[in-house]
């Protein structure tokens, strides 16, 4: 057995014969690249321990997928038989998709997505089906396998139990990242009882769809614990104001770099040029082979190297932003203005006074601008909507003894309260020097 030691799951093992394809994927260049991409981007600016990589998370999700499938296969009863058959038939598909689900993430992924207009799921599709080493490994396992893995990650595979185990309100991805991020940041409120969660795992049908859920009688407390962990992690880790400020500064650095590159004011860099501003780019340039090859060479280190060079660039906007990031002199949050339009006018006056483009003296952070949100907590449930008009209802399901599903918030008063409160953190950040002018001395939010 090939064995990895892991801080969350301890021993993670792969069988070199029956799971050879997984080991080949792990050894591929594209997956090894994830060792050099931090799972939490700039969270280490707030939580210094958060240095873990997307590589360890990918192994963790694959490991959890095995455990989830094992539990579901051990359940008894006619109601679960069809899902057990589906999972037995597609076990390797589920494991390969789990291992590759984050393969399309680049450095500072969400800032990069905004600059290129291509999100990590599109890169994932291209890496898996675009004739790369990954495609070859998957196709040598079985013809058509690469497309199937891409379908699971795109959530359009017809084996819905596999899709739901990787991507739903109670999936292997979320369970691993919450535990891992909690452990590595030191934020203990993100922990929950994984062993009990797996013990009470169930599968069934709810509102005409397959859902992975928990046992109603035995799983209520762990379900509540799981949602509370999410609530705290989003509030205090993923959306921490300093972390978000740093992430948004990276977005502005990339935005400025693209502007300067297009004006010819930044030197040629074949890799960055291909990813950030390919020839003829109108903001929606396709993923060509050249662009894909370049993307697969990008890591956190590539961009940090650039930031250190650009801190001395002659363009004052770019150099100041890079120094802000390197020296951790982050923009400060201020309360969202009541009159947004008047506030924007004030920003324009300041920008004109100091000769800086207005776009670079503020950072706006609203739920609609974030690439990651927790929709279960941030969107209030709309239970008064008819089934036909219902859209992407987010649900955590508890199955009773008869296999009937119940939404957690309808069974748990605590979660009901939390869901109806709805977490909507909206912030504006400005350079420290502007804070007093813009707020009249109001405190941080």
């Amino acid at each position: 057995m090939q064995t990895f030691r892991d801080p969350v799951h301890n021993i993670i093992q792969f069988d070199p014969d029956s799971e050879r394809v997984l080991l080949e994927l792990i050894d591929s260049k594209a997956l090894q690249r994830l060792r050099h991409i931090k799972q939490l981007g700039l969270s280490s600016y707030t939580y210094p321990g958060a240095e873990h990589s997307r590589f360890s998370h990918s192994l963790g999700v694959c490991h959890l997928m095995k455990r989830f499938i094992e539990t579901i296969l051990s359940l008894r009863g006619d109601r679960v038989r069809q899902y057990q058959e589906e999972l037995r038939d597609h076990r390797m598909l589920a494991l390969a998709a789990a291992l590759l689900h984050d393969i399309g993430h680049g450095p500072f992924s969400h800032a990069l997505e905004k600059t290129t207009g291509i999100d990590h799921e599109e890169w994932s599709q291209a890496i898996i089906t675009g004739g790369t080493e990954i495609t070859q490994i998957l196709e040598s396992y079985r013809s058509g396998f690469a497309r199937e893995v891409a379908d699971v990650i795109r959530r359009t595979h017809t084996a819905k139990s596999v899709v739901k185990l990787l991507s739903s309100q109670l999936d292997t991805d979320r369970v691993d990242y919450l535990l891992r991020d909690s452990l590595m940041t030191g934020a203990g409120y993100g922990r929950f009882d994984l062993e009990w969660l797996i013990h009470v795992l169930r599968i069934g049908t709810f509102r005409d769809d397959v859902e992975v859920g928990l046992d109603l009688d035995k799983g209520m407390s762990i379900a509540e614990d799981f949602v509370m962990a999410r609530y705290y992690m989003y509030k205090h880790v993923y959306l921490h104001k300093s972390t978000r400020s740093a992430e948004l500064i990276v977005g502005k650095i990339l935005q400025r770099a693209v502007e300067l590159r297009k004006e010819g004011a930044l030197p040629v860099d074949p890799v960055l040029d291909a990813v950030l501003c390919p020839a003829g780019d109108s903001g929606t340039a396709p993923i060509t082979k050249e662009r894909l090859d370049a993307f697969l060479q990008l890591t956190d280190h590539t961009l940090w190297h650039k930031f250190y060079i650009w801190q001395n660039h002659e363009d004052p906007v770019l150099s100041r932003l890079c120094r802000n990031l390197i020296e951790r002199r982050l923009y400060k949050s201020i309360p969202p203005p009541e009159d947004e339009f008047a506030f924007f006018k004030k920003l324009q006056e300041l920008a004109a006074r100091d000769g800086v483009p207005v776009d670079y003296i503020y950072l706006k952070d609203t739920p609609s601008m974030r690439s990651y949100t927790d929709v279960y907590l941030s969107h209030q449930p709309k239970d008064d909507e008819s089934e036909g008009e219902r859209e992407a209802s987010e649900q955590i399901v508890l199955f009773d003894r008869n296999g009937v599903g119940h939404e957690l918030a309808n069974k748990s008063p605590i979660i009901n309260q939390l869901r109806n409160k709805s977490v909507q953190l909206e912030r504006i950040y400005v350079p420290e020097a502007y804070k007093a002018i813009l707020t009249g001395g109001l405190q941080d939010v």
């Binding site: 799921e121 891409a150 959530r155 947004e340 609609s368 008009e389 209802s393 909507q424």
Partner: protein, 167 residues
């Protein structure tokens, strides 16, 4: 600061009240496919492509009073408010904001049922994310078995929309 919100305000201004969250999601998705400058990320959900960012932006506009959200006959109806109209006009007059929303396309999309738009957008999502047309057709029928009889009409509608983009 208002780019993305402005585009949505413009959509609501150019349309009769939009009834149903599903219809609104699918309309915005298909308008993006047709070249409208919306920049939301979409993922495939039970009812087809869905954008959490779009839903969040609508929530923000509703909270700030720029768009009204009312439940009528178990469906949510969205309309531009006077406050929203005022913001939109100030942005245009004082800041030079502009954005062309194809009113005929908006009208056409609004006339369709939400289930038809679900099938069109599912097919569109599959093609837009890399499937060949024949595979997308087959897959759309597999994923939306209960809407299978709409597939030919859905593909034809998608082709009309896509043609707008290409033109």
């Amino acid at each position: 600061m208002f780019d993305s919100a402005y585009r949505l305000l413009k959509l609501f201004a150019s349309s009769a009240p939009i009834k149903g969250r599903k219809k609104l999601q699918k309309m915005v998705y298909l308008m993006s496919v047709a070249g409208a400058p919306f920049q939301y990320k979409y993922r495939y959900h039970h009812f087809g492509p869905y954008s959490e960012q779009l839903q969040a932006e609508i929530n923000e506009l509703v909270q700030k009073g720029y768009v009204s959200e009312k439940n009528e006959d178990s469906a949510y109806v969205y309309t531009l408010t006077d406050k929203g109209k005022m913001l939109m006009e100030r942005l245009e007059q004082e800041e030079g904001y502009s954005c062309t929303i194809d009113a005929r396309l908006t009208e056409s999309l609004a006339r369709q049922t939400s289930t038809f738009l679900e099938m069109v957008s599912t097919y569109a999502f599959l093609v837009q994310s890399g499937d060949e047309p024949e595979r997308a057709r087959q897959k759309a029928v597999e994923l939306k078995g209960h809407l299978a009889d709409m597939i030919d009409e859905a593909i034809s509608y998608y082709e009309q929309i896509r043609w707008k983009n290409a033109g």
